[in-house]
């Protein structure tokens, strides 16, 4: 009787079965992909509140003491501030230089290929070799070591090729007729740049600045050689790791992540505004 009431189960066609399998595989892949990306971050946040002297599981209650330790350490705060300021200035200078270079590289000039190679050289030099080179150069030059005297130039040099590589395709792919049209209509090159070119590449500039900030913020090995007695976050953390368990590390990680997210948010807001501006131009 029951069998008579139950509608006959529809047999899936081969194509439908294949489609279903494909969907399951795709969703599984997406699930694993996001889990792989975000579970460690979520775990870091959870562990930063774990009331345990061991960095790891099991959870032993909720505490804010690791955050108290982080915010109670003047050295750690100073290193975070140093990294944030250094990252900001490096990003601004490197992005500006990269923009000027990208604009310059739109035209041909003698030794262009060689200049390009020289520009990208810092990427090819291993960090530790770069660190030694800077140490030797600044040493012979008698330059004082510190965040602003030696570390800033090193960070700019390190970040610049990446900034250029990020920005150059954007500038290179710009339709020259827009600029030419502006000039035809009487705009000076500066006005054409300010009113036409820059609004178009602004999202790229912001993305480059954010990328540069991140690269600078995380730089360790080159910094170590030239930082002198100052400290950035990576350098300070490394000294802490040298002789203690440092159970406050997840809290430090969360604070650093918060700084990065904050910087990204600013970037997204500016980028969105730039996109709206670009839409108006085009």
């Amino acid at each position: 009787m029951a069998d008579a009431l139950t509608p006959p189960r529809q047999r899936l066609s081969k194509r439908q079965r294949r489609e279903r399998t494909r969907k399951i595989a795709l969703w599984s892949y997406v699930g694993f992909f996001y889990a792989f990306l975000y579970v460690p971050i979520a775990l870091l946040i959870v562990l930063s509140f774990n009331n345990s002297d061991v960095v790891g599981l099991p959870l032993r209650g909720v505490t804010l003491r690791w955050y108290n330790e982080v915010f109670g350490s003047a050295d750690l705060i100073r290193s975070i501030v140093n990294s944030a300021l250094l990252g900001t200035v490096s990003a601004i200078v490197a992005t500006t230089l990269a923009l000027l270079l990208a604009l310059g590289f739109r035209t041909d000039f003698p030794m262009k290929a060689w200049v390009m190679r020289m520009l990208l050289l810092p990427i090819l030099i291993p960090g530790i070799v770069g660190g030694v080179v800077y140490l030797v150069t600044f040493g012979y030059g008698g330059m004082p070591f510190g965040v602003w005297t030696s570390t800033l130039p090193v960070h700019i040099t390190w970040v610049l090729p990446f900034a250029f590589l990020t920005l150059f395709p954007r500038v290179h792919g710009l339709d020259p007729s827009l600029e030419e049209a502006a000039t035809d209509l009487g705009a000076t090159p500066f006005v054409a740049f300010r009113r036409v070119i820059f609004p178009l590449i602004k999202p790229g500039v912001i993305a480059t600045a954010m990328f540069s900030f991140t690269l600078s913020f995380e730089e360790f090995i080159r910094t170590l050689f030239v930082i002198g007695s100052d400290r950035t976050v990576p350098v300070h953390l490394w000294t802490l790791l040298s002789d203690q368990a440092a159970p406050f590390l997840p809290a430090v990680g969360v604070v650093i992540m918060a700084v990065s997210i904050f910087a990204s948010l600013i970037g997204f807001v500016l980028s969105a505004q730039a996109d709206r501006g670009r839409a108006k131009v085009t």
Binding site: P144, P153, S229
Partner: protein
């Protein structure tokens, strides 16, 4: 677009190729040079820049130093003895007023091969009245040549085996030897520090070499083969002491190579961790101070060496960090139990130790360790 406009576009100030590249170069120069206030390494009044083992300038000890010296102490990021001597010998000279590192490891570089080759300046011992309080064993860490003193000891550290007392009982005979770190009894519960010098020294001592730092290639091969054979007992290698401490305190491992501040930190946090006293000897090192030739505040550097041997600093160091002070003041305030716990037996001979000396062929050591790791 007219030709005229095209040419105007590329000739206008601020956008011509030449000017763009010129502008980029100028900004580079500005970024690199103009932010440097002086090309000269200027002295800052009331500051003393030091590069020291982190524990020597912990917040409590730093406060003592700053109070007694009436100076602001700027401590550089200490990485290792190797890093410290590299900074001492860096082009342009050391950027610190006072430095310290392991005597046995650093003295060949600090003192140089012969008289006149010293990388540091002679210390005026008349400015260090507390030098008379250096205990007898620590005098081994005074670096002197032709009647001049170049290095003055202030503390001792030592490396041993740390173990979880809940798993490894104190009376286990294995705790009386480096065997605890190598042999099969605690297989799968052992952590090795991923450093050639210390690990090969420990294994060398355990295998009966009287002066492991002088092992030749054949002996190193023998030690390497032994470690490869025992590698099956190792759960993991660790690169930093933070990693080792977490593995031990989290129960991932129960036995590992460890240094004094690591044990001290774990015990302070309430973990049931102890350090073994191997009969072959703990691996000891004497930390010594030296004043680079480029020191800008020589008088204050002398004063700091003196304070580090003084009563307040020495006693706080002994109580707070786990390191042993080279000053006789340190033991005055310690009970016998504390002296035993901290390892002051090194000074009276009740704890056997062997100084971590620089190997005669470090390259061969690193090669051997690489073989162990890749086997």
């Amino acid at each position: 677009m007219t030709d005229d406009n095209k040419s105007r576009l590329h000739q206008m100030p601020g956008l011509s190729r030449r000017q763009i590249l010129g502008g980029a170069a100028s900004l580079s120069l500005a970024g690199g040079l103009s932010l440097a206030p002086n090309a000269v390494y200027a002295q800052k009044n009331g500051q003393l820049e030091v590069l020291m083992v982190n524990a020597m300038v912990s917040p409590t000890l730093k406060a003592i130093l700053e109070k007694e010296l009436e100076v602001k102490l700027i401590d550089g990021p200490f990485m290792s003895g190797t890093d410290t001597v590299s900074r001492l010998t860096a082009p342009g000279g050391a950027r610190y007023d006072l430095m310290n590192s392991s005597f046995a490891f650093s003295s060949p570089v600090v003192m140089g091969a012969k008289a006149g080759a010293e990388r540091v300046q002679a210390i005026d011992v008349s400015q260090i009245p507390n030098m008379k309080y250096i205990n007898e064993p620590s005098k081994e860490g005074i670096g002197q040549r032709d009647g001049k003193v170049f290095m003055i000891p202030h503390s001792w550290g030592y490396d041993s085996i740390l173990y979880n007392r809940a798993v490894v009982p104190d009376d286990d005979p294995y705790t009386h030897s480096w065997s605890l770190l190598f042999e099969d009894k605690y297989a799968g519960r052992i952590g090795w520090w991923d450093v050639a010098h210390q690990m090969l020294m420990a294994a060398g001592l355990y295998l009966g070499h009287k002066e492991p730092e002088k092992m030749d290639r054949a002996q190193l091969t023998e030690v390497g083969n032994f470690l490869i054979k025992k590698k099956k007992n190792v759960r993991t290698f660790f690169g930093t002491f933070a990693q080792g401490s977490n593995l031990l305190s989290g129960g991932e491992i129960d036995v590992c190579y460890g240094i004094v501040p690591m044990r001290n930190d774990l015990q302070k946090r309430g973990f049931n961790i102890a350090g073994a006293w191997p009969k072959e000897g703990v691996l000891s090192l004497i930390s010594a101070s030296y004043i680079p030739k480029e020191s800008r505040n020589v008088k204050m550097a002398h004063a700091m060496i003196d304070v580090m041997l003084g009563k307040t600093y020495a006693q706080e160091l002994a109580n707070g960090s786990g390191y042993l002070s080279a000053s006789t003041f340190a033991q005055e305030g310690l009970s016998d139990a504390d002296k035993k716990k901290y390892g002051y037996g090194i000074f009276d001979g009740s704890v056997k130790h062997y100084q971590l000396k620089f190997p005669t062929s470090m390259n061969a050591w690193i090669e051997t360790w690489s073989r162990v790791k890749s086997a």
